[in-house]
Structure formats: structure tokens, C-alpha cells
Symmetry: C2
Subunit: 287 residues, 2 copies
């Protein structure tokens, strides 16, 4: 019997899947593994695109987006534009279990968090503030960075789960939401098809419901990497301008096979499997 699998986007995914693997080895569920892994990336202040230490919006305020999905039941929980919480993935999970709704945004998401015991935390680090001040003073004020953590897990009971967390494009407009907290775009999980999570320019990813699309391709019989490649290829064919941006997706099927692909080079993801962590660089698709 396997002890489970965890897959996560980007280099910070290595520490994340290690934490997920520890949770799985302790008998945790796929959802426990998703939360444990993503929290590691969120609480790492040196990462400027996720959780604590993330770059703020144009006003200098960190607004975070996160979501989880349970592949056994299709239950979901999501928050967007949440302020004052360093690890928003735990609020998203709490929305799933404790709200009559599934997606809370802005002030309402913060109010839900306080009501359920999450204290008000400082989320802006000195380094992120300094970067924001530099941005304010620069002539070219474009946004910066979009390295969402997406994490997928399969547990020993054969259940899949997916999660996503980001502080969003650095210096974004107030209230901007990308694909990360959107079910089907930033993440999707269904025990009967597979799980997927996306990262990159959310404004493009959400036009294609990229994670749902990958799960649909796996449901139709494609292995994970081929499912990711097919989704990236469709995006490039339908909107060739996406080749200028990073749009990447990872997938995990109900048999525990993992894969990933991207619209351009430079993407990487990490896999934990029965105690063995691996790190994969994925290169460009030109389909």
C-alpha cells in the first residue's frame, strides 16, 4: 500500500511536498497534506508571491487568495482579497467546513476569519514594503511575479485533494483576483478524474478553466503530462499571445501518476512519493 503522493508547483514546492509527505506518513488525509504543504510556502517570509512576505497591492496592502477542493466529495472553500492572515489556506479550508457558503471575498473573508479564531497578523514584511516603495518610485510601474503555489495530494485511502495560495501579482490593483481561488481555473480535484492546479498569469489561465480542462482530459484517458500538454496547447492555439506569459499546470491522477506542462520554459514542480522527493524542470511546449 502506498503512503500517498504530493505534487507542488515551483521550487518552493520542494519544502511544501516534504511537509505534505510528513502529513501523509502520519496518516493524514489528502486535504491535511494540502494544507500542511501550502502552509510551509505561506509562512516562508522569503517567498514574495505567497502568504506572509508576499508583495502587496498598489496601496501597499497584502491581499491574499486561496482555495481548497476535496476530490472525494467535490467540497470546496475559497477566499479572495483576504487581509491580515499569514496562511490563508487554513481560512479557505475553514470556509469549506464551517460556512454555509463556499467563497468569501474582501472584508467578508476577513470577518469570517476573525469569527473563527484567526487573529489579525502583520502580513507585510520589511522587504516586501521596500519593494513596494521601489515600485512606487519607478517610472515603469508594471505588476511583478505570479508564482502561485498549487499543491495536489493523493492519500492512502485513494482520495485526491487540491489547494492553491497566492498573494497575487505584485502591486496589483486593489481587489484584483486571478485564477488561484477560482474552482476549475486555479485548481480542481475529483477522485473520478484527477486533480490539477495552475500557476502563471491568472488573467489568461481563467479564460480557459485550465485545471478543470486538465481533469477533463485525464477523465477522457490522457495521462497527467499529456493532459497538461493538451491544455497548454489549446491555450497557445486559441490565444497565441499567451506564449509571452507563463501559464503552467500540474496534474495527479487517481493512480498516483504526476505530471506538468507549461506554455513556456522555466517551469518546475516537485513530487513527493512514499518518502522520495523529486524535482522536475518542465520546458516549453510548441504544439
Amino acid at each position: 500500500m502506498h503512503r500517498g503522493v504530493a505534487v507542488a508547483t515551483w521550487k518552493f514546492g520542494q519544502a511544501a511536498v516534504a511537509a505534505s509527505g510528513a502529513a501523509l506518513s502520519d496518516g493524514g488525509s489528502a486535504m491535511d497534506a494540502v494544507e500542511a504543504g501550502i502552509r510551509v510556502a505561506e509562512l516562508d517570509a522569503s517567498e514574495h508571491s505567497v502568504g506572509y512576505g508576499g508583495l502587496p497591492n498598489e496601496d501597499g496592502v497584502v491581499q491574499m487568495d486561496a482555495a481548497v477542493m476535496d476530490g472525494a466529495t467535490l467540497d470546496v472553500g475559497a477566499v479572495a482579497s483576504l487581509e491580515g492572515v499569514r496562511a490563508p489556506i487554513s481560512v479557505a479550508r475553514r470556509v469549506m467546513t464551517d460556512s454555509r457558503h463556499v467563497f468569501l471575498v474582501g472584508e467578508g473573508a476577513g470577518r469570517f476569519a476573525r469569527k473563527h479564531g484567526f487573529g489579525v497578523e502583520e502580513t507585510l514584511t520589511d522587504e516586501a514594503r521596500r519593494k513596494w516603495q521601489e515600485w512606487r518610485g519607478s517610472p515603469n510601474r508594471n505588476g511583478d511575479g505570479h508564482d502561485t503555489i498549487g499543491l495536489l495530494s493523493l492519500d492512502a485511502d485513494g482520495n485526491l485533494a487540491a489547494g492553491c495560495s497566492t498573494s497575487g501579482v505584485g502591486f496589483k490593483e486593489v481587489g484584483r483576483v486571478g485564477d488561484s481561488p477560482l474552482i476549475g481555473s486555479g485548481l480542481y480535484a475529483d477522485n473520478e478524474g484527477g486533480a490539477a492546479a495552475a500557476t502563471g498569469l491568472g488573467e489568461e489561465i481563467l479564460k480557459f478553466c485550465m485545471s478543470f480542462q486538465v481533469v477533463e482530459f485525464m477523465r477522457a484517458g490522457l495521462p497527467p503530462t499529456e493532459a497538461c500538454r493538451a491544455a497548454a496547447s489549446r491555450m497557445l492555439a486559441r490565444r497565441p499571445e499567451t506564449a509571452e506569459h507563463m501559464a503552467a499546470v500540474v496534474a495527479l491522477d487517481p493512480q498516483g501518476r504526476a505530471g506538468g506542462y507549461a506554455t513556456r520554459d522555466g517551469f518546475s514542480y516537485a513530487v513527493w512519493r512514499d518518502g522520495e522527493a523529486t524535482y522536475t524542470e518542465v520546458t516549453v511546449v510548441r504544439a
Copy 2:
């Protein structure tokens, strides 16, 4: 040459598609028709689930969600938890054309609206306030109503567009967002597949990316009604508890064929086609 087609959910869809048809007859685009039709439902104060006159959240504040999608380009614009605007569909369209992002929520959505010339309007009617006061005083404080307007259009150039607008479940938690402003869940449009829009309990619809699913089924060759039926059937099979709730979807294919289906009886939609408006009642699927 046809002058276009418009399809909209529910009984208020009749007045909406009439306005869409007028826009199409004047040479307007599918997107013009979507905006014109949805504005009619939004500005009708007697409708308690959309725009002005919509039921407020638990705090007595009206928070609205809306989105548009252009099937030619896949461009999208969306707002959620927007306050102080009676016709949020026009703000969603403005996000599509004038923001570097595509989805703005909460305070940020309001700030974008003011910056682009939308004044602060009173959105709570006396009748909606009275219903909220009754709800506050009642022992059984469940939410009420979820009759989103979803509107699809095909113009004389063969372009598809989709739009969605709602004030959400009455007396919802502050910041609650359902499927309506979520691309792929509440709406989807792609000239190469078709267009779809969903209405009903958003918390269930978004678990299935229902609108994207319907477009995928049309892309694979199903006619609109069969595509909607297949999506409703999958939902009922995967989560049988959805039979207790209304989840309905309408579809329009690139050839101008329209259809709709629902998880239970009582759903209706309206179609405008070359000057002829029709009204269709759709009954329950038991697949």
C-alpha cells in the same frame, strides 16, 4: 442573413432578450446585446435577485456580482461584492476593456467603478429593506433566492457573448460570492464551441464548472439542450443532493441553436430570434 439570437434565464429574461434583440437589430454586437439585456433586469426594482432592488446581505448591504465574456477573443471582465452600482454588468464590461486585470472584488471593484465614472447610487429599495428586516426578525434565518440572470447572444457577424448578473443569495454572509461572476461556472463563451450561462445554487454550480462543461459538450458535438442535459445529469450523478436545489443552464451554439436544462422542475428561459420572442419552460431531468 440572421440579425442575431439572444437567450436569457427566467421569466425576467423575456424583457431582457427583447432589449438584446433591439440592440442586435440596431447593428449592435453580441456584447452590446448582452449588456443591454442584462441592464433591463438589473434596473427593474421589482426583481429581488438582480441589480437594483436585489436583496441585501446579512448586514443589509446590497453586494452584487457580474461578469461578461467575449466569445471571439475570450476576453473577460468580472466584479464581485460590488456596492453602490445599480447595473454592475456595465462595470464588468468596463473591467474587461479598461483594467489590466479581469476580476476585481469588494472595495477595489467599487474604487474601479468610481474611477471610471460610475456614481455612487442607492441600491437598496424600501421593499428589499423591509424583506431584510423581516428576515432579521424571523427564527429561521436561511438565505433566500438565487435567480441570476444569465444572457447569451449571437450577432450577425457570428460572434458569441455571455453575461451574468446577480445580487446573490438574499441575506448572504458579507462577501459571499457564488458562481455568477466566475468564468466557466456562471458563464462561458467561445465562438469555437458555444456559449452557456448557469443559474441556481451557485455553491453547487461552481463545483462542476457548469458553463464551461456545457460548452465542452457542444464542442464535442452535442446540440445545446443535450449539452445542458448532460451537464445536469453529471451533477445529479456525482452529487445526488443537488436534486434538492435548482441548478439550471442555458446554451447557445455557433449556429444559433438554443437550449436549456435543469436539475429540477420550474426552470424557464426566453429566446429572441430575428424579432420573434419565445418563452420556454424546462422540466426536470432524471438521467
